[in-house]
Point group: C2
Chain length 207, copies 2
């Protein structure tokens, strides 16, 4: 029985007995863990080049990962923590256009849930009014952040995902402390598909 | 300049000057805050009965609310914290079937972000292995909760939203400390549309 704030029951065996060591991520080319299966333990620059034209379900056994719509870590981003993702709805969030594939992915190496800190700024290049976060924020407006946009971020530690709408809905953008010194000076630096500085929720990534 | 962990800049004026007091929730019958507009400060049992056949965008000015697919607080649930929701994707999350309406809604009165606590149990009726949470959890598997299902909940304080998939994706279910004593003995008690005990992420609601 656990009574610690963040712990949830005794650690479960990550894999069935006799399975040996578990790869961090297992993907299938059909939903609900059907069809052809492939295991990965490092970056995948292009799933088609590894023999997978589509990824329709997967399971993350360890660590936190980020998947991308296009090869080469481009396009929409999907932050993926440990668990089961049986179909597209499980990882897509509520993105405005349907993308039924994940063409590249890599680990999020700097994620550190218990020690994450980020600064946000009203304007680009760290100008204007600023705020500081060390906890998840499902609604920036509820904490007094005027307006629904952010101009720039400075990630001091850990990894964060910021989302377009409250409650972590809409497009999501990964912000990492070990990516170009944690500096995100302009909306264009949040990702190749980022078109708006609209951010209404931000949270820490759980490794 | 704010340096507190959870604060985000100085409190902004919630409404433009000269606007007077702001209603907690404002809805429009077209996306992007167009069309006919209506203000609410309490429960709405049926938006059609109030002259709204559809709700396509809204803005939450204060408090936390929960919206429902059907009248009478039935069907899919949408937890709505303060902010702007310009279109269906902003509040729907990644629910498995498209629902372009919100037919009833009410405030979440027991939400208390800084003081929320919940117990979760492997089996229904509070049986089996248990865990305790006082912080957001984007991945129950990452914290050692074996399997992807929860049997029952006991909400000690605050309000929580549990989601089907990691990262708060998929169907969401509101769990309140002031609703039948915070006891959710079986998946059927999480909501009229709840069909699965699959829960892989849980977080506190921000008032």
């Amino acid at each position: 029985v656990s009574t610690e704030g963040e712990q949830c029951g005794p650690p479960a065996s990550p894999c069935p007995p006799g399975h040996g060591s578990c790869p961090p991520i297992v993907v299938w080319d059909e939903p609900f863990f059907q069809g052809k299966r492939h295991e990965f333990s490092t970056d995948c620059y292009s799933t088609p080049e590894r023999g997978f034209s589509t990824v329709r379900s997967f399971r993350i056994e360890s660590g936190a990962w980020v998947g991308f719509e296009h090869c080469g870590f481009q396009g929409q981003q999907f932050v993926l923590e440990r668990g089961e993702y049986p179909c597209w709805e499980a990882w897509s969030g509520s993105n405005a256009y349907h993308v039924d594939r994940m063409s590249s992915f890599r680990p999020i190496t700097c994620a550190e849930h218990g020690r994450s800190q980020l600064l946000l700024f009203e304007q680009e290049n760290f100008q204007g009014r600023r705020g500081e976060l060390s906890d998840d924020c499902p609604s920036l407006p509820a904490l007094g952040w005027g307006g629904s946009a952010v101009g720039s971020f400075l990630v001091c530690s850990g990894a964060w995902v910021c989302s377009q709408y409250p409650g972590y809905r809409g497009f999501q953008y990964l912000l990492e402390s070990d990516s170009h010194a944690g500096e995100y000076k302009h909306v264009r630096e949040w990702g190749s598909h980022a078109q708006t500085g609209q951010v209404q929720s931000i949270r820490r990534v759980q490794q």
